[in-house]
Subunit: 234 residues, 2 copies
Amino acid sequence: MSTVSALAYKVIRSLILEGRFIPGERLKEEELTDLCGVSRTPVREALRRLALEGLVVLTPHQGAQVAEIGEIELQEIYALRAMIESHAAGRAAKRIALSAIARLKVLAGQMEDAVAQAVRRRQTKLYERYTTANSEFHRIIMEAADSPRLSAMATLVVEVPLILRTLARYSESELSRSLHHHRELIEAFEARDEDWASSVMRCHIRAAAQAVVRPEGEAEPAGNDQGQPLGQVG
Amino acid sequence: MSTVSALAYKVIRSLILEGRFIPGERLKEEELTDLCGVSRTPVREALRRLALEGLVVLTPHQGAQVAEIGEIELQEIYALRAMIESHAAGRAAKRIALSAIARLKVLAGQMEDAVAQAVRRRQTKLYERYTTANSEFHRIIMEAADSPRLSAMATLVVEVPLILRTLARYSESELSRSLHHHRELIEAFEARDEDWASSVMRCHIRAAAQAVVRPEGEAEPAGNDQGQPLGQVG
DNA sequence: GCCCTCGGATTTGTATACAAGAATATCACG
DNA sequence: CGTGATATTCTTGTATACAAATCCGAGGGC
């Protein structure tokens, strides 16, 4: 879209996802007007859309505020995400192009490299490379599912947790498992086995949920590996 | 909401669902302005919301038109509905109140009566009583699932097919099966068996999909029963 | 006769002005 | 000094005016 409304939407959405506005914070239209450089009308449209997507809640005559998400709500969201993405993986298994599978392999490799480096150097700066590749990985699968409505639902549950800015703390073993999930998923795609693909994706998301929901300081079951903080997970 | 935007939303939505606007028909803002008795601003907000819900599609600088739904798209929608409602049924099994179960029994009975009457009198006017009870049946389950996001997704896939105004043609045996599904669902709830409930609901929706997707004149497998036309099914 | 181009009309997108409701501060009273 | 009613101020909701883009038809060229 080349409309100003779309711009306002992107700007406000970015501000929220980047943490410039914290959950519960009130969003005054005039304030956003300044930040976006547009008038109130497109700002209002953007807010309405963000509300439909669950990033903000808006109450009549009281304006908008960034959505707040509780622990149990987060659980619920991850359950929905497991449902949606596993469904997508199933559809993708029957539809995904070979070129897309090739791309998935590249991305899986990149994530493996990123983890290997981080582990070797004992650094926790895994974020960027991993999450970028991971996001594209999931996006490709969702696109291969070729269902606009499913995609719409996915954004509903993928983006909302991001406003929490909770870095999932993956243990080394959990990271390893995640990487194996990626490879297994690719195998399932190559086998065109939708049930297999769907099942792997479900595991993948449920496992991610564990790493996210687990509170900051809570220790992993055993081992001396410190958690690897990651942005978008799964 | 007591705002005028909400009014415009309801009015336009009703007009579409009642078939006053046919799929593909263009919706001019000024025209809707007259029909709703409000100015363009709330009309535009309503259209944006309806677009997010999938009832209308809007292209920049070209306005809105009622969504068109193809055969394969309808299949896709029913697949999503099966996913969502079965998930809801599973959650509901663990949460639904006994009073709600009691209400489900009443509704199941009403639907059975409606079908019995229609069959006895050989009349096809089953619509009202059945669909009303059926809608409430499904709504109760969705509410029992207690997940606002899931509910939002449900409206996304439940309402859109309605703009087609395709009456599902249920054969007598299919109707009977549907009624049995209702009873089985209730049993699953009483047993608090989420997997059972989820599975039954999935069957229920998939069966409904068959009755809807099947073209107008296509005959049922066997038997001399003429199709029972129903509005909202499943 | 057909197609392309240009101009008017129509329609959507955006800004702004005005109205209505909610939050807050002030002042009077207990 | 605390409490409550009231008034002010601020914010949102709605209407309208203006700008920009698209659509449609007339006219001319090929």
